[in-house]
């Protein structure tokens, strides 16, 4: 302890690649060392596979009672049906985890330690986003493929589907992409609200509540608002192809979702730099 460190060195302004790698390592440590992370991700896997099995099995057993239009829809796009049922509720685990990852730093005060270590706030937010998106994407893919195979096996007799069918592989990979961007979307809301309960409520509002509300809007306005809502646009990536009544193609929809997320993250970064911690 006797040697005093050298004169302080100021940065040139930008964060060097070495520094950014260090921040990434730190954010990875933070993510993996709280209980909410393994629990949320485990819940994602269990709920997705569970609901996939439940919804597909129920549909198959009720096939003859299902109306013809719905049958036709499932047959035309089985992958969308499988993934839609599976991820409908389990995606909420990512919403919660995304908000928690950043808002819990505020609720516990840990953000102060984080900002003392990394006073440049935009790189800190960027590293946090990068780590979270990569982790959610990997776990998302790890759960998306078994989900597809499980669902496909169950609906096989009524609506056969294979990974090599047009658009199917993109839809399955898209499920992981959707979850990763959803995680970032939740983080952006968490960073804006800086309050865990408020942030979770906000994200769930966006993901589950706004869509049915938008549908109540009359005529074409309602249809457009609904189509451009973040989660509604985002989950189009889980369809094998654009349906006749969809305003956006799968990639366009995903792009709209990314745009929403990017704008919210931009606002979050701007506020993070302006607000007192």
């Amino acid at each position: 302890m006797n040697a005093i460190a050298a004169e302080p060195v100021a940065t040139s302004g930008l964060t060097s690649p070495t520094q950014f790698r260090r921040i990434l390592a730190s954010e990875w440590t933070k993510l993996r060392t709280v209980r909410s992370t393994p629990w949320s991700l485990l819940l994602l896997v269990v709920l997705t596979l569970g609901f996939t099995a439940l919804f597909t099995a129920l549909t198959v057993s009720q096939w003859d009672k299902t109306d013809v239009k719905q049958q036709a829809q499932i047959v035309a796009d089985p992958v969308s049906f499988i993934l839609g049922g599976g991820f409908q509720l389990s995606q909420l685990t990512i919403c919660v985890l995304g908000v928690l990852f950043i808002a819990s730093e505020y609720s516990t005060g840990a953000i102060r330690a984080s900002l003392l270590a990394v006073p440049k706030r935009t790189p800190m937010l960027a590293a946090k986003c990068a780590v979270f998106a990569v982790v959610v994407f990997i776990v998302g893919e790890v759960v998306a493929f078994p989900t597809f195979f499980l669902g496909a096996a169950i609906v096989h007799k009524k609506a056969p589907v294979s990974l090599s069918d047009p658009g199917v592989l993109r839809a399955v990979v898209g499920a992981g992409l959707y979850l990763a961007v959803l995680g970032l979307f939740a983080m952006a809301i968490g960073a804006l609200v800086r309050h865990t309960a408020g942030g979770i409520t906000g994200v769930i509002g966006f993901v589950l509540v706004l869509a049915p509300l938008a549908q109540l809007l009359p005529g074409s306005i309602g249809k457009h608002v609904h189509a451009y809502l973040p989660s509604e646009a985002g989950h189009l990536i889980g369809q094998s192809s654009q349906r006749s009544d969809d305003l956006l193609s799968p990639w366009q929809g995903f792009g709209v979702f990314c745009l929403w997320t990017a704008v919210l993250l931009g606002v979050a970064a701007w506020l993070l730099n302006r607000r007192d911690a």
Binding site: M1, N2, A3, I4, A5, E7, P8, V9, A10, T11, G13, T18, Q19, R22, I23, A25, S26, E27, T29, K30, T33, V34, R35, S36, S104, E105, T108, G109, A110, I111, R112, A113, L115, L116, A117, V118, P119, K120, R274, D276, A277
Partner: protein, 320 residues
């Protein structure tokens, strides 16, 4: 090493820090003293780049905190409010901080050992007592072996043993040539720890001087006199330039004259004395008086009786 220039910060209606200018030098413990709500924590947050000042600038070694490339290797900070995720272990909290500076894991073990948390390092920080939490905060501050330490109320809520530990640690760090800036609302604590004091009240600078000088300046001396001829002695004292701060039966508290002068006055005029005791106002009382009306510093013609009578409990002095 730490420089604050014209720092101001307003939170809504309240001006928490009001055009503060001071500097903190290396090699000694500098106490940052002021009553609760004086703006000490806010000033420290401004120095540490957590809050943005409305006016002025704070620098450390000439750089704003936000511009430091590896801040924890330059400045170690302990904030008053907890800054630890309650669900994370002490070890992982420190590890995540160490990684941002490229510090090795070995260093994490070292600081944990240094603050005596080895046995609980893998426990969740949320389960820590106040004292353990403070130790973890100190560990985080020392992590990067920084040359500047900014510690907000480090002894708050600690038991006497831990207070002594921190006191000695701070003195040792300063003796190594580091800049040690410690806030407290307790004058007595600072009197035994700090060599230099920066005193603020209502966000404004009240004093920036050596601790000794501050004590000298703040202690209003007075003399307690017991005499059956209180009225007469009071008149004599006043005509000789003294002031009567308090009168209680045959007991007078005389200011602006020392014991020798009063003794002489009594002897010359044939006044019988039963007691003649120099009083030293307690530091704490004097400090409270100074900070209560921060504007009034420097014009201490009279000390209200309250401050002096509070002081009498701890008065030092001998019968003349």
């Amino acid at each position: 090493m730490i420089e604050a220039r014209d720092l101001s910060k307003r939170y809504g209606e309240k001006l928490a820090v009001d055009h503060l200018t001071f500097s903190v030098q290396p090699g000694k413990v500098t106490g940052f003293l002021g009553p609760n709500g004086a703006g000490k924590s806010t000033t420290m947050r401004l120095i540490l780049g957590l809050d943005r000042p409305d006016t002025g600038r704070a620098t450390i070694g000439g750089h704003a905190y936000r511009d430091l490339a590896e801040p924890l290797r330059v400045v170690g900070a302990l904030l008053e409010a907890r800054a630890v995720h309650t669900g994370r272990s002490a070890y992982n909290h420190l590890l995540a901080l160490a990684q941002t500076q490229g510090l090795p894991r070995k260093r994490v073990d070292e600081v944990i050992d240094l603050v005596g948390l080895t046995a609980v390092a893998r426990k969740r920080a949320g389960s820590f007592s106040l004292g353990m939490g403070q130790r973890l905060g100190i560990a985080a501050a020392l992590l990067g072996d920084p040359r500047v330490l900014v510690l907000d109320e480090p002894v708050n809520g600690l038991d006497p043993e831990a207070i002594l530990w921190i006191r000695n640690l701070l003195k040792r760090l300063a003796a190594e040539g580091r800049t040690v800036f410690v806030s407290s609302h307790l004058m007595n604590e600072m009197a035994v720890t700090a060599e230099h004091l920066i005193v603020i009240g209502r966000g404004r600078l009240i004093a920036d001087c050596a601790t000794e000088e501050f004590i000298e300046r703040s202690s209003h001396k007075s003399v307690l006199v017991k005499t059956p001829e209180a009225d007469r002695l009071a008149q004599l004292a006043i005509s000789d330039g003294g002031a009567i701060a308090n009168r209680d039966g045959d007991t007078l508290t005389v200011q602006d004259l020392d014991a020798a002068q009063i003794g002489h006055l009594a002897a010359v005029n044939g006044v019988e004395l039963h007691e003649l005791t120099p009083q030293l106002a307690s530091l704490e009382a004097a400090f409270m008086e100074l900070t209560r009306e921060s504007q009034e510093f420097g014009q201490h013609e009279s000390v209200p009786a309250q401050a002096v009578s509070d002081a009498s409990e701890v008065s030092e002095g001998s019968h003349a």
